[in-house]
């Protein structure tokens, strides 16, 4: 007997069933259906990705020639800051949570999310909050901003975005814990387990950032003696858009890879418990995030001093590496144990998690004092690796679940090509800055550094990489639209269970 993993649509009707454009708009505005909410988050994250790639291209060309500037020099701090915000809270956060919201009920064979109105509230709040943040940057607000009102607006918008993502996470966690259809937690798909891990991580860490925002805001509108005004906002809140915290945001990527490989190989996952432990290790990042600071390893004068530096470094930078490493290795084992093959979902997810792992390894290297990489563009590269890796995995996740959620599978071969293009784009947008980091190109600076030799070229290649990523996403969007209009394809990821 073969069964579909998709549950029947709930009473919360998808807006697509409405007929007239006005009805469809009203349906979209009021929907609590997981597919529409998740789809909205995914589309909005794609829009933010356009902003990210545009900024990436502009910054790449700006830094190609450190002497001349096209953008106003005063705006650079805000442009770099907007780039980081957009990467984490504009792209990675909504893309990962959107994928989870979109596909989780299908994975659990449930009709809809638990607390779907809460999830809808989270989606709309995130949309409003992220728009407020964008407007505040345009009005000379944000970190380093000169307009006091827009700086306050930025803090308000950022606070709304954090609350919104935490609210969606609560809905996701409640869904996994209460809609398992009698299954033990260890028996749910790895994707659902990873969703629970990321939800737990976000619920525990985003309020920490919110507390800092409250302090910074109250200080900013009053004495400005404790938290240093607009120039130091990034110093207080920077941890939330840096590694390893970003791993908590992209944990669903690990679930996509684990599920994609099992459905591609049509077999069972060997050492499934170890895979779950691997995904769960991501939660170690919570301990790192709540300290709100980077943990750099430096050799001490005594062995005890060295050990005192190494233990927190290892705990907060090396242990999280185990999460993607375990999942990648065991996914390869699962591929070998079943019927080895290649699928669009697997290729995209495998390359995506590989990029996330590369970013985390880079972050661990950056926190080695001896390498002197702190304060260079190396940090920007690690973030781009992780976020673009999450984008690739989101492409894999959509491909994996499209058949069960929408009834229309995507053409697998084309997804493989798009995933390979995205892989090249990610490497080009990140790796050159790893090199430039070793050549001491400073972070958050577009002028005033030596751009001769390799440094200038690396920035040009990075701009090209961001441009290619834009092409990748546009290509995938085109593929999704075409698949909805074309003939229905058979779903190779359809879950088949023995009678």
């Amino acid at each position: 007997m073969s069964i579909s993993v998709s549950g029947a649509p709930s009473g919360a009707t998808p807006s697509s069933l409405a007929t007239s454009p006005l009805q469809r708009l009203a349906g979209w505005l009021t929907t609590i259906h997981h597919a529409t909410l998740g789809g909205s988050l995914l589309v909005a994250s794609a829009v933010w990705l356009v902003v990210v790639t545009a900024i990436g291209v502009v910054l790449g060309f700006e830094r190609f020639d450190a002497g001349g500037t096209v953008v106003d020099a005063d705006a650079f701090v805000q442009l770099f800051s907007l780039h980081r915000f957009a990467l984490v809270f504009g792209v990675a956060g909504p893309a990962m949570l959107g994928l989870v919201v979109w596909s989780l009920p299908a994975q659990l064979q449930a009709a809809n999310l638990s607390l779907p109105r809460l999830a809808a509230f989270g989606w709309w709040s995130w949309l409003v909050g992220s728009a407020i943040v964008l407007v505040s940057y345009l009005g000379n607000g944000g970190p380093g901003g000169g307009d006091a009102q827009y700086v306050e607006t930025y803090l308000l918008g950022l606070g709304i975005v954090l609350v919104a993502l935490a609210v969606i996470a609560v809905s996701v966690a409640a869904t996994v814990l209460t809609r398992r259809n009698g299954r033990a937690l260890g028996e749910v798909p790895v994707g659902a387990f990873a969703a629970l891990v990321t939800a737990l991580g976000l619920v525990l860490t985003l309020p920490v950032a919110l507390g800092t925002i409250i302090y910074v805001w109250l200080d900013y509108v009053n004495a400005r003696v404790a938290f240093g005004g607009a120039d130091l906002i990034d110093a207080w809140l920077g941890w939330v858009v840096r590694e390893p915290h970003t791993l908590l945001v992209v944990v669903p990527a690990l679930g996509v890879l684990a599920d994609a490989v099992v459905r591609t190989a049509k077999g069972r996952q060997p050492l499934r418990g170890v895979v779950l432990v691997g995904v769960g290790i991501s939660l170690s990042v919570v301990a790192s995030s709540v300290t709100q600071q980077a943990h750099v390893f430096a050799l001490g004068d005594t062995p005890t001093g060295t050990l005192q530096s190494f233990v927190p470094y290892a705990l907060f930078n090396l242990v999280p590496l185990l999460a993607p490493l375990i999942v990648v290795l065991l996914s390869l084992l699962a591929l070998r144990a079943g019927t080895p093959g290649i699928s669009g979902a697997f290729v995209a997810a495998f390359l995506g998690v590989g990029m996330i792992f590369t970013g985390l390894v880079g972050s661990a290297a950056m926190h080695l004092d001896a390498l002197g990489l702190v304060g260079t563009v190396f940090g920007e590269a690690t973030l781009v690796y992780v976020v673009y890796g999450a984008v690739l995995t989101a492409i894999g996740g959509i491909t994996l679940h499209a058949g069960s959620v929408t009834g229309r599978a995507l053409p697998d071969g084309k997804v493989v090509l798009i995933a390979l293009l995205g892989f090249v784009a990610t490497v080009l947008a990140s790796l050159p800055h790893y090199v430039a980091g070793f050549l001491d190109q400073p972070a958050n600076a577009a002028t005033g550094f030596d751009d001769s030799g390799l440094v200038g070229v690396t920035n040009l290649i990075v701009a090209l990489g961001h441009g290619l990523m834009l092409l990748t996403v546009l290509g995938f969007i085109g593929l999704v639209i075409a698949s909805r209009r074309g003939e229905v394809l058979s779903d190779r990821y359809r879950l088949v269970q023995p009678a």
Binding site: A173, A174, V203, V208, G211, L218, N222, A226, V290, Q292
Partner: protein, 201 residues
């Protein structure tokens, strides 16, 4: 003769509201915990000054001319315990099917919450701290203001729970259990704040 097969018992359902409330409470606890951690960090890094005895050195954190209304703060702490007892009484009464006592318990919980809000405002007025001069003032109002928002959310929760019981949904014990859990969590948060901000200062 074969023994008759036993029918399956009712499946134990995990309450969505209870789980969601637990997550929200955990998030709120992290919010307050992080703010208290930053408070302790700032206090530890504050410069020192000579104490009123003219000999010992103390942290120049709380200004010498500021007096914390300790009676009001401790009264606040005790009032939280009353709210918790009332919230648990609501759960107990609902399990026994005693609707009138469930309503009474929820009503008292809500009004106790309003009394806590009133006491916090009275404390702010008594302390007479101007939000202009230093880190202590900023952080005091930020942390107590955030706690106030959490308390108000608990009062609103009590109101919603009572409204549901009044509307005839008293048999839905999950909401009352979740409501009691939230009050326990809020009390735990305030206990930490009370000790750090009002007792240790």
């Amino acid at each position: 003769m074969t023994a008759p097969a036993l029918t399956a018992g009712p499946t134990r359902r995990t309450s969505t509201v209870f789980v969601a409330t637990a997550f929200v409470a955990a998030g709120a606890a992290m919010l307050m915990g992080s703010m208290l951690a930053m408070w302790l960090d700032f206090r530890a890094k504050a410069p020192t000054r000579v104490a009123s005895d003219g000999v010992s050195l103390i942290k120049d954190w709380l200004k010498s001319d500021v007096a914390i209304p300790e009676v009001a703060a401790t009264t606040l702490m005790i009032t939280f315990v009353i709210a918790c007892v009332m919230a648990q009484w609501a759960v107990y009464s609902a399990r026994r099917g005693d609707k009138s006592h469930t309503k009474l318990a929820l009503g008292i919980t809500m009004f106790t919450g309003l009394a806590i809000v009133n006491a916090q405002i009275a404390l702010w007025m008594q302390i007479d701290l101007v939000l202009r001069n230093d880190a202590y003032e900023t952080m005091f109002y930020a942390i107590t203001g955030t706690m106030m928002a959490i308390i108000v959310s608990a009062v609103v929760y009590s109101f919603v729970a009572m409204f549901r019981v009044l509307a005839g949904r008293g048999a839905d014990h999950d909401v009352l259990r979740a409501h009691a859990l939230y009050w326990y969590a809020v009390t735990g948060m305030f206990a930490a704040l009370w000790f750090v901000v009002y007792v240790q200062k």
